[in-house]
């Protein structure tokens, strides 16, 4: 066996005075291995990733443990020493290359600077071209003279990877390198990383919150929760037989288009830095908690040769349950609630205008969930905005109960406005930061349904209960809510109008998977209980599979394919759909009976 090239032991990173952000992190990695570091937002992934390079943001320090890269100790090095090591021995690929690449340095010089700084003696011009070539970027002079903003998102990320590889480091840390990219581009970057793994002389740390992505490339997986590693082991076995209840929860939350299933979220929310309980951090959300769990932080214990778990009751952890979604109704015979007929929508800019929807027709029956998928910029949001009267169509008709709707919300009748409600993608701007939850939810009740203050207040309580928010949340302000909570409030606000149809524009794409699972679950429940029709926009086929009845595939403003979810996902007819499906990562847990279990003593 080859020597491990990265060895982390007992790493603790904390605020200068006080709370730890991450604690007791121990990892080991050999060349050619890819470690997937997963966990929900705020669990400390980035903090660990940067600590591997000896870097901490201002106010944060590494206060214990050791990090060794190729035998060289990083913790305790002075700045000069660190500068020498960074980029040479271990390098970093940032999450968002659009901001992390210096906007005023040309592509070639971005790479060349690494060679300059680390004194690589070579024909630098040729070497730069070669390095760009390694990540499939053109190395010609014209390309090297471009500025970062003249590259596509995928190219920017490749460039960032090229910069990281420039000096032949032994370890490369990639912090969510594909998070901002669409699936197709993401698939290409992952391919790239896969090739690096194959080449075998570099070890990779791949940070992501997306288990499906990690599963597709990692050889080992470390799951983080609240600043600690809770489970670590070979990728296959962690995914198939998670031993930590949190890992299990994560895996159960991941939607999958290959095997459409009912998603189960993890109840509760993660604790923040400083607010962690004295015992197991996950205990408050854990189904198999016993009083012992709350007494002391459980140690990371070896459960077999290659795996460790931080749970005293790991044996109790059940196997991932895969509830396949029941058969999805093929046709609902009821008269359509909403009918879109040859919709055309444009964005008029200076001179030229962009066609966001060319000729889009579809129907939504009462109680039905129709999903709209397509890559970024295909026109999904524009269509949604047309439905609720925020964007005036350039042609075609939108009918509600067979009656045409006016282009602008203002010109629609109150009944019409009430019937169709929208929930937006970004939970951070969909609520007015100066209005309390109660105020936000009560307003549509008063303005669209003419109820008094008091009746509205009473109804707010029921609505919050509906979206499974505790009543005390009513007096909170959006700034005091997590993303998932905000999205629920936004849904409650939409429900407050007593709509018949909900337009959801990527309502879960900014959320962690476990939170996403909970929100999707909520939507399913609302459909069931209220007979609500849902028009659900997403770019994630897994989500489509887990919630929708029918699906429309959109490409550049045109509907490429339409049909039931099962039909479209299992037997796609258009090329474009096929490409989307191929690119979408999947956990690929067998639909029947669940993954094979190794031990369950």
């Amino acid at each position: 066996m080859t020597e491990s090239v990265l060895r982390v032991e007992g790493l603790r990173v904390g605020l200068e005075r006080g709370a730890a952000i991450v604690e007791d992190v121990t990892l080991e990695l050999r060349p050619g291995e890819v470690l997937g570091l997963v966990g929900e937002s705020g669990s400390g992934k980035t903090t660990v990733a940067r600590a591997l390079l000896g870097y901490t943001p201002p106010g944060v320090v590494i206060d214990a443990g050791s990090v060794q890269v190729a035998g060289q100790e990083i913790v305790g090095c002075d700045e000069r020493e660190l500068r020498r090591l960074r980029g040479r021995l271990i390098s970093y690929v940032p999450q968002d290359p659009a901001t992390a690449l210096n906007p005023s340095i040309r592509v070639g010089d971005q790479v060349r600077e690494m060679l300059d700084v680390h004194g690589v003696e070579a024909d630098r011009g040729r070497l730069v071209a070669e390095i760009l070539g390694r990540v499939q970027l053109p190395g010609d002079a014209a390309f090297r003279r471009r500025f970062p903003h003249q590259l596509s998102g995928g190219q920017q990320q490749r460039l960032a990877i090229a910069v990281a590889l420039a000096c032949g480091p032994r370890v490369v840390v990639l912090d969510e390198p594909t998070t901002g990219l669409d699936v197709v581009t993401q698939a290409r970057i992952l391919e790239e990383i896969g090739r690096l793994r194959q080449e075998g002389d570099v070890a990779l740390v791949y940070v992501s919150h997306d288990l499906a992505v990690v599963a597709s490339i990692a050889t080992r997986i470390a799951v983080m929760y609240a600043g600690r590693i809770v489970e670590e082991g070979p990728a296959e076995s962690v995914i198939r037989t998670p031993r930590h209840p949190y890992a299990l929860g994560l895996i159960s939350s991941v939607p999958d288009h290959v095997a459409p299933r009912r998603l189960v979220g993890i109840p509760g929310v993660a604790v923040g830095v400083g607010g962690r309980p004295s015992g197991c951090s996950f205990a408050p959300r854990c189904a198999q908690r016993v009083s012992e769990c709350e007494e002391a932080v459980p140690p990371l214990q070896r459960v077999d040769a290659h795996r460790s778990v931080r749970c005293i009751r790991w044996q109790e952890t059940p196997a991932p349950k895969v509830d396949l979604r029941g058969v999805i109704g093929d046709t609902l015979d009821a008269a359509p609630l909403l009918e879109v007929d040859a919709l055309r929508a444009e964005h008029r800019g200076r001179g030229a205008s962009v066609v966001a929807a060319a000729d889009v027709s579809f129907t939504v029956a009462p109680g039905e969930c129709v999903a709209l998928v397509g890559e970024s910029g295909s026109g999904k949001t524009t269509i949604a905005r047309c439905l609720v009267g925020l964007h005036a169509p350039a042609g075609g008709r939108i009918l509600l109960d067979g009656k045409p709707l006016a282009a602008r919300a203002r010109s629609r009748s109150r009944e019409e406005r009430r019937s169709v409600q929208i929930v937006f993608q970004n939970p951070y701007d969909s609520l007015n930061p100066v209005r309390s939850v109660e105020d936000a939810v009560a307003w549509p009740i008063r303005s669209l349904r003419d109820l008094g203050r008091r009746e509205a207040a009473a109804e707010v309580a029921t609505l919050l209960e509906r979206v499974r928010l505790p009543e005390r949340m009513a007096r909170r302000f959006p700034g005091e809510l997590s993303g998932g909570e905000r999205q629920r409030v936004a849904i409650a606000r939409a429900l407050a109008a007593r709509p018949r149809m909900l337009v959801c524009d990527e309502v879960t794409s900014a959320l962690d998977v476990s939170v996403q699972a909970a929100v999707l679950d909520l939507l399913a429940e609302l459909r069931r209980d209220l007979g609500l029709a849902v028009f659900f926009i997403t770019h994630d086929l897994g989500v489509v599979a887990s919630i929708a009845d029918r699906v429309l595939v959109l490409e550049e403003g045109d509907v490429r394919e339409e049909g039931t979810v099962t039909a479209v996902l299992s037997a796609p007819r258009s090329d474009y759909t096929r490409r989307l499906i191929a690119a979408a990562p999947s956990l690929a847990i067998e639909a029947t009976g669940g993954p094979s279990h190794t031990s369950r003593a």
Partner: protein, 289 residues
């Protein structure tokens, strides 16, 4: 319940006080404002009575000495803050009211009104402030208080309109505004409920520097001899009036100058802290004037 909600809102608004500099700044600011408004009750002499010998140096009866016409500097200092603060504040408020309305109209309307208004603001922006005041001073009533206050307001107006417009534009594409539009809320309801409360912070973040500039402009135009005649004592005026005697009784200049400096510095410290707590740092546009 409502009380609790309000307390929460209040706490949010007072967040900036976490910085000790903001606390000191606020205390000093309140002190100077207190001097300005309560000072007259403590003044040992009338600000305009019993002329002594001009520019006498400090003595027991006149702790800060005597000014250019023979009045007690201390009493005038105690009397002279009101007008500075009131005129500075009036000009600033007027600028916010008019500039804010223009910015809101331009930012929210998304019609031809927007470019028309903003180009008009650009025209005003093409005047260096002092130049604008000088041009105004040549007009018939150009040297009165009303003219001065409105001229200073006009000087601030374009940049406020720009800031408000940008903030309104930014806010008007937010989900909660779109949701309100889709609900069919009336425009004034949207402005009042959704937009105004959210642009308030960034817009007021530069009120401190603006107030400073207002006061300094009043002082400058008085210095050039083109300001309104002194109503009573006034710090800005005292500086220019007593300038000729600075070598004889420096206090007549230094005391009001110091108070203006302390007033504006403390206000700026507080404004900085507020801006900071709103996640906004003073940028080039803010400091523009």
């Amino acid at each position: 319940m409502i009380a609790v909600a309000q307390a929460r809102g209040g706490a949010r608004r007072l967040q900036f006080l976490r910085a000790w500099s903001a606390r000191i700044g606020l205390a000093v600011f309140l002190f100077v404002v207190g001097v300005a408004f309560l000072g007259p009750y403590f003044a040992p002499h009338s600000p305009s009575a019993e002329p002594g010998i001009p520019f006498s140096t400090p003595s027991k009866a006149y702790p800060l000495g005597i000014d250019y016409v023979g009045e007690d500097v201390l009493s005038r200092v105690l009397f002279g803050g009101r007008t500075v603060i009131i005129f500075g504040a009036l000009a600033t408020l007027l600028a916010y009211a008019v500039g804010g309305a223009i910015g809101l109209l331009a930012g929210y309307s998304r019609t031809l009104i927007d470019p028309v208004l903003m180009r008009a603001m650009d025209v005003l922006l093409a005047f260096p402030p002092i130049l604008f005041l000088l041009v105004v001073a040549t007009t018939p009533r150009g040297q009165g208080h009303v003219a001065l206050v409105s001229a200073i307001a006009v000087i601030h107006m374009p940049s406020i309109a720009r800031i408000v417009r940008t903030a309104a534009l930014e806010t008007s594409v937010r989900g909660y505004v779109e949701a309100a539009v889709a609900r069919g809320d009336r425009t004034h309801v949207i402005l009042r409920r959704e937009i105004l409360p959210n642009i308030w912070g960034p817009v007021m973040a530069d009120a401190g520097p603006r107030f400073t500039v207002s006061i300094l402009l009043v002082a400058a135009i008085n210095f050039l001899g083109l300001g309104p005649s002194p109503p009573t004592a006034d710090w800005a005026l005292m500086i220019s009036e007593n300038r000729i005697g600075i070598t004889i009784n420096p206090w007549a200049v230094v005391a009001p100058a110091l108070l203006i400096a302390v007033l504006t510095v403390s206000l700026n410290v507080v404004a900085d802290a507020i801006a900071h707590s709103l996640g906004k740092s003073l940028d080039v546009e803010t400091l523009r004037r």
